[in-house]
Amino acid sequence: MKNILKTVYTLLLGFLPLAVLAQIDGEFVKPRSGKFLLQNATVVTITKGTLTNTSVLVENGKIAQIGANLSAGDAEVIDCTGMFVYPGMIDSGTRLGMVEVSSVPETVDYAEIGNVTPNMQALTTINPNAEAIGVTRVSGVTTVLAVPTGGLFPGTAALINLNGYTPDQMFGGFKAVVMNFPSSGRRGRFDRRSDDDIKKDAEKAMKEADEIWNNAKNYLELKNAGASLQYYPEMEHLSKVLTKELPLLIQVNAASDIQNAIKWIEGKDIQVIFSGVAEGWRVAEEIAKAGIPVITGPVQDLPTRQSDRYDAAYANAGKMAKAGVKVALRTDEEENVRNLPFHAAFAAAYGLGKDEAWKAVTINPAEIMGIADQYGSVEVGKRANLIVSTGDPFETRTQIMHVFIDGYRIPLSNRHIRLYQEFLERSPGLKAN
């Protein structure tokens, strides 16, 4: 009897998959890896000029070959005649994947409590299935820096590629300890402190920053001397900046704060990147002289002062680049990181120029983050983060036709597109209740 039951159960189990299939319509298109030949495109390499009638072979997640007459072999051929191949764009400052709905605190994971929390890892909180990731990558933005916010040292930022099922699969090989440089500016219209109070707060914060820095130095000295130290994760992480294991990403915006930050890092043997830098154009020469690379944005933003020209934020990147600053762009966005190409277009139109604007979302951030051997251009041996478009991806009329991340062919679908497919011609329409 038992055996019969067993047989029945086994049979039933055998039928289960069929039963499930019967209840599901349609097919889900997943990202898939493979060998792809992007045939006969105009390839905008960024670093090695623009190549017409050129093909790109993607294999094992890398750009395997670039050339005029590549044989397809066993590769899947994607005809790109009349189309353009660009490197995937990099947004160098976002909260993508760290938040789902910004007004619902339960879904906001980018800002931890505390003033000194450099051990908070952005990578930990990345949700690979955040709705905004699928929405972002079809725009051609394939890689973003996820940056925690909050206190003076809010955490450690991480570069992620916008494909993968775990944060580690997405990790792009760059991290940086974030510092919100004490600000002498007003935080917005709801900041009702007096000028004196703002100044006092900034001085107090600066003093605190110095103390924390000295603590980190002491921690490292003691550690190097072999002292037995108590568990102190904050200092452990800050000391990674002192040993140059990680760079310090200093978020700083007001002109006087930028000057103070330049002074503050003088004599400190560390690797520094500035981020934000909204008033960089006021002190561009000083930033260039200090040799500090800059991640700036959003470009589509209001001027910081009422008296500024209306296009101060549009023109900021261009003015810094002209002064000799190495510039990368960021949106400082969460759900609308997809607008990076349009921020870049505005920077281009208001002084940066198209070529430099492209560099600011590809090779420049790659170089600033020390990952240019893998990212930022269409070159043999680099990761296959590629986009295929009908034209200039900075133009809204251009359609992105294919996206590859780490050699995975990304389905051009997300909730925004699915809703379009469902509701463009709704059925039932108006009548037929």
Binding site: S103, L302, N336, A349, T396, L419
Partner: protein
């Protein structure tokens, strides 16, 4: 005595005339690619403006004596951009003290000195719909503005010939402010419907009371006292009488559908939805029963009721026949609405004319001013923008902006500091570091209602 009254009346009349006397210019714009929006594109074409009105569109026009010529060779000329949802040039935005505050008027809080007006002009925007906020179900009456930068009298930037409009709001904002903040109805979308139906029914009774009084008054020897006057109920009655266009802040399909049903029950036809992120789900209904939707190009996920949004919203609404416009609701976005409209080409493949209509003739229709502005046609008010590059290109740069034929923005003559008014007490100029806090003002001025809540409230909840 009678004479004095006449003289007084004459003076008042004169005063009103002076009041309505806004500056008007004459200009000949030569050799542009004219994007008329309603009547196609015309290459190498001239547009002649006289006394603030478009007089002629054609080739080889010559300037009458005294009329300045602007050479627009190689450039594009389009109608002044119209923003159907803005809070620029308003000193306050929300009168949130009651779920219905239809008596308040944004015309009373217009600030012609706000730098945002100039910045909007620099983005080609000539008309904006200065709206009450979204803190209550029935907010205040809005003001339609013409961006006559430099005016010192608020009345001079108000578009006096625009019809009345009023702000309504559904969903999270009014339920949070009153239900959760004040402990009174509405706390839910059910309560929002009740506030609306109760309000309109009260207005019907109010109307009846006045009608009864007025007919009784006509009878001899009648000394019935008049009913108490209520600006609040009178305004609702004016909505029922079709004298005011409703512009309703809304996001979810269910609440949009609810208001359509309420409007149909009360015979209200002048209804425009604002934001309308889930409008695409009820696009056929919006198209059939309303004056359409004014939407964001791509904003979503900043609050829960916009989580199920799509950037294809404008395209779906338009393809279903709804009048659709793209608005800013932001001091930042208002500066590049041409670019926001262009996103309908990425998300839905709209044509140039369809995309441009979203920021010109369509918002004009929703504001009831499409007979005056919103396209380049002979007889319309000369609100015009000259662009370097096609306005739907991401690289487009506005060059000159005209309102009523007067040039208010010229990129070549732009000074660093364009402020009209600097406070004498201002010692150190404030630096606003995350300017977008400044940009979104739909929920401004409601913090007093949330002292019990955490202070972060306002920064968290935008629009």
């Amino acid at each position: 005595m009678k004479k004095l009254t006449y003289i007084l009346a004459a003076f008042l009349g004169l005063g009103l005339n002076l009041h309505a006397q806004t500056p008007k210019g004459s200009i000949l714009i030569k050799n542009a690619t004219v994007l008329t929006v309603t009547q196609g594109n015309q290459e190498n074409t001239d547009v002649l403006v006289q006394d603030g009105v478009i007089k002629q569109i054609g080739k080889n026009l010559s300037a009458p004596s005294g009329v300045t010529t602007v050479d627009a060779t190689g450039k594009y000329l389009m109608p002044g951009i119209i923003d159907a949802h803005s809070h620029v040039a308003l000193d306050v935005v929300n009168e949130a003290s009651s779920p219905i505050t239809s008596e308040v008027r944004m015309k009373d809080v217009v600030n012609p000195f706000e730098i945002g007006i100039y910045r909007a002009l620099a983005g080609g925007v000539t008309v904006s719909h200065a709206m009450h906020g979204s803190a209550n179900v029935v907010g205040g009456q809005n003001a339609t503005l013409k961006h006559r930068w430099g005016a010192k009298d608020p009345a001079e930037i108000i578009m006096q010939d625009a019809p009345r409009t009023i702000k309504f709001a559904l969903g999270e904002n009014p339920t949070r402010v009153h239900g959760r903040g004040n402990g009174i109805q509405p706390r839910t979308r059910m309560g929002v419907e009740a506030v609306l139906r109760n309000g309109f029914n009260e207005a019907i009774q109010y109307k009846k009371a006045w009608e009864t009084y007025n007919s009784a008054k006509a009878q001899k020897g009648n000394n019935t006292p008049p009913p108490a006057y209520s600006e609040r109920l009178q305004t609702l009655a004016d909505i029922l009488d079709g004298k005011i266009i409703i512009h309703c802040h809304s996001y979810r399909a269910d609440e949009i559908y609810m208001l359509i049903n309420v409007a149909r029950d009360f015979g209200i036809k002048k209804l425009v939805f604002q934001h309308t992120n889930e409008g695409f789900k009820v696009a056929p209904e919006i198209a059939e029963y309303t004056m359409g939707a004014s939407v964001f190009a791509d904003w979503w996920a900043y609050k829960f009721e916009v989580y199920y949004s799509t950037a294809f919203n404008a395209a779906i609404l338009h393809r279903n026949g709804a009048i659709t416009s793209i608005n800013s609701d932001s001091a930042e976005l208002i500066r590049h609405l041409y670019h926001e409209a262009a996103k309908t080409q990425r998300y839905g493949g709209l044509t140039d004319d369809e995309a441009l209509a979203m920021i010109t003739i369509n918002p004009a229709r929703q504001l009831g001013i499409d007979d005056k502005v919103g396209s380049i046609e002979v007889g319309k008010q000369a609100d015009l923008v000259i662009f370097e590059g096609h306005p739907l290109s991401s690289y487009a740069v506005p060059q000159m902006t005209f309102v009523d034929g007067i040039k208010y923005f010229d990129i070549k003559k732009d000074k660093d500091d364009q402020r009209q008014l600097v406070a004498a007490t201002e010692m150190v100029e404030p630096i606003f570091l995350r300017a977008d806090e400044e940009a979104h003002r739909c929920m401004q001025d409601v913090d007093a209602y949330f002292e019990a809540f955490q202070g972060a409230f306002l920064e968290e909840h935008k629009h």
